[in-house]
Symmetry: C2
Subunit: 263 residues, 2 copies
Amino acid sequence: MPDQHAHRFGASSDAVAEVRQRGLSDALGKQIVTGALAPGSVLTLESLQERFGVSRTVARDGVKVLESLGLLYSKRRVGLVVTEPRAWNVYAPLVIRWRLDSADARATYIELTQLRIAVEPEAAELAAQRRSGAEADELRRLAARMRTLGEAGELEQFMVVDVAFHCLILEASGNTMFAALGDVVGEALHGRTTHGLMPATPMPEALDAHDAVAHAIAHQYPDAARKQMQFLVDEVRAALEHDAVGDAHLRAPVIPTDERALR
Amino acid sequence: MPDQHAHRFGASSDAVAEVRQRGLSDALGKQIVTGALAPGSVLTLESLQERFGVSRTVARDGVKVLESLGLLYSKRRVGLVVTEPRAWNVYAPLVIRWRLDSADARATYIELTQLRIAVEPEAAELAAQRRSGAEADELRRLAARMRTLGEAGELEQFMVVDVAFHCLILEASGNTMFAALGDVVGEALHGRTTHGLMPATPMPEALDAHDAVAHAIAHQYPDAARKQMQFLVDEVRAALEHDAVGDAHLRAPVIPTDERALR
DNA sequence: TTGGGTGAAACGTATGATCTTTTGAGAGGA
DNA sequence: TCCTCTCAAAAGATCATACGTTTCACCCAA
């Protein structure tokens, strides 16, 4: 199993990017988002060639990826400058993955969850207005399956269906920016069980709420859909606040690296 | 004025990317998001070299950018395959800009606004919990300035301050994913005046609500902050529904292009 | 009809050379 | 002493070319 996360966040350049270039952008990207390479740090193409044992072509390709993710920019006569976090594309699948793989995974998980809490009620309301017939059917089917699995205590499979349920609503909203958050919801739900925030068996109210959401969307009751979804995410919010140890602001202080200073 | 939108969405590779490569990724990217190049279309590096009069290096660099934005992927022996919209990084500044520059700018604007509506109340609540003293002061200052400009009917400047106000709240939320939506809010507000959805002079209730939000955040009343912000975005929502002509789903049907079929 | 082998297409990688921008240091003058 | 202006070096940007690698499509044989 070469990549634990390959099942999610696909499409971008997972199976495609060749291994040398990917290794470089992966390693560098991770270093940047973890803060090991502080904003303002300066690298050079040549140093990357040497460090990763690759040609200039590969080094440039890897850098190009990081550049388009906003993690660094290249400046003539200077080199490759690591960007400050506010410029990062934190919605890019690669960046999300790197952040989740790094030390402050918890803070990232909290941020993803907060985003999910904000978006899902709105998405449910929209979905109730624009869902197709097929989507309505599928939604009810998924809700029923969640009940079965939940009452049986099959947490793993339950989560899979749960993710599918929420993703479908995001898609049915008709807003591509909401739909694009399917991965975010997936990671948030995944993190919830990973962090041990899930009861051994899902609460009956949660199962009822899922049913209610599916019902409201199927019957095109936007207000009810929003309200029921709000109920669902409010529970998540409560769990989050009870659990809120990590602060998204926290980050180890690091001083910028300037390779030229080492010469 | 070579780029109308250069004032926003900066940082990524605006002033940095050299002109040849940028021209290529810009032109191609725009073609893809507008649908002029349908998903499944196949290009080759060689055709791009010829079409844009650039070397292989530049063509590859441009493609690399589009690839990391999820707009296409390259496949050996096949070429460059345009990806289906669901895989696009619709949160990437470049993609947002291209979508706004294209024909279905209206649909994009609606999506951005819906996202804003979803996120801002949550951000306001968080901001009320975690804002710094400086942020609280600045927020009240901005609200006051909005009142002055609003009552004077200075719509242009009003909008600038309005954007700053909302961006500051997103930042103060402490959630980097919320903070990253500053550009989205900026474009949404910009589009609101562009689409003529703004009254000649902002409604007094809106000015009051901005004051109330600033006050609630400054005094650390999360519930009030959320409620007041909800009031603000509910007005936006109302304007949006009243105006809802465009459907985000709509897109001109196009058949995939395969360059090889033309030979 | 089916199965496998084979060649070419197109991307991936490597390398060397040249162009362009930037900047820092040094020369020269006030 | 300090400021300005010039200039050369540094480092990325671009180009051209060559070779490696994978994948697909086609053909031939069973």
